[in-house]
């Protein structure tokens, strides 16, 4: 049975005062759990993903197809930039990893991604977050799990350009409109 997949936001791209808020729907995501000190687990994931999963806290490693994000010492998020490889990698992880010591879960529908881009993006985020963004997200390899007002988010720095800041926010689907509305309200300060 094919289930219909829906975006959360009716209008997926909104521009206001030089800041773009965009939903990236239907991104394949895998939650991977295992022991980073287990050599078999690390070598198997390395051979399937073709990259060594990050063990440094709050970091990510990326190739052209997906990024592997550190969530905790025994948990990672594989977020696909190219969904064509999702099923193949999901099946391989399920087959090759020891099911007694690891878990591989498809969490694609659990959260959606909101991308915010613009000159004042970090200033905008500072209105709502207690984390020190400049310090915690000081390079494109840094991520942070934190709270946005009251809601749990995963934020990833993703600057494509030197001047234009860009962040991807992984947020629960049910919190997405709340987050969008707050961001839009916050944009009022910045004049286009």
């Amino acid at each position: 049975m094919n289930l219909k997949r829906n975006k959360v936001l009716e209008v997926s791209t909104i521009k206001k005062n030089g800041i773009t808020i965009k939903e990236l729907p239907f991104v394949g995501k895998i939650n991977l759990r295992g022991n980073s000190k287990d050599r078999e687990f690390m070598s198997n994931t390395g051979s399937i993903l073709d990259i060594v999963i990050p063990t440094e806290p709050n970091s990510k490693i990326q190739n052209t197809d997906f990024q592997v994000i550190w969530l905790s010492p025994n948990e990672w998020l594989v977020s696909f930039l190219n969904n064509d490889h999702f099923l193949k990698i999901f099946e391989e992880l399920n087959i090759k990893l020891n099911p007694e010591k690891t878990s591989v879960t498809d969490i694609s529908e659990n959260k959606t991604i909101i991308r915010i881009e613009g000159y004042n993006t970090s200033e905008l985020l500072k209105k709502f977050m207690v984390i020190d963004i400049d310090n915690a997200l000081n390079s494109n390899l840094r991520v942070a799990q934190t709270i946005f007002v009251k809601i749990p988010i995963l934020i990833i720095r993703n600057h494509h350009d030197k001047d234009i800041q860009s962040f991807d926010i992984h947020v629960n689907r049910s919190h997405t409109t709340y987050l969008r509305d707050l961001l839009l309200d916050g944009c009022n300060q910045f004049i286009d």
Binding site: N58, A136, Q145
Partner: protein, 115 residues
């Protein structure tokens, strides 16, 4: 607001954490051998120290890991943070001196002294 140094994620605001109460309380090895009073002691009785207390904390909005914190409950000063399974460090806290000679147990409640 407290700044807590998560052993995994680094320094974050208290808002991201939740406190799990007193640390290093060992579960009795053979619960059926305990009487009701002993079991209630294990479940409910806590030291409620005014001063240096070892506590469990969880980085609930971050890496979701449990760890231990040595905190002065009178001043909110965090003296040490260490991972689960590690031995608690031997510390001395600067307990505030009260003019009325308040006891070390919180709120002057003598009933919380262990007999």
């Amino acid at each position: 607001m407290l700044l807590i140094n998560c052993p995994y994620c680094g320094e974050r605001e208290q808002e991201e954490f939740s406190c799990g109460g007193e640390a290093h309380i060992e579960r009795p090895k053979n619960p059926p051998e305990l009487n009701d009073d002993q079991w209630a002691d294990y479940l409910f009785l806590r030291q409620n120290i005014k001063g240096l207390q070892y506590e469990r904390w969880n980085h609930s909005f971050g890496c979701r890991q449990w760890f231990n914190v040595a905190r002065n409950t009178a001043t909110d000063e965090i003296l040490a943070v260490y991972k689960m399974g590690e031995k608690p460090p031997e510390l001395k806290s600067n307990d505030p001196v009260t003019p009325c000679g308040e006891p070390a147990i919180g709120s002057g409640n003598f009933s919380t002294f262990k007999k």
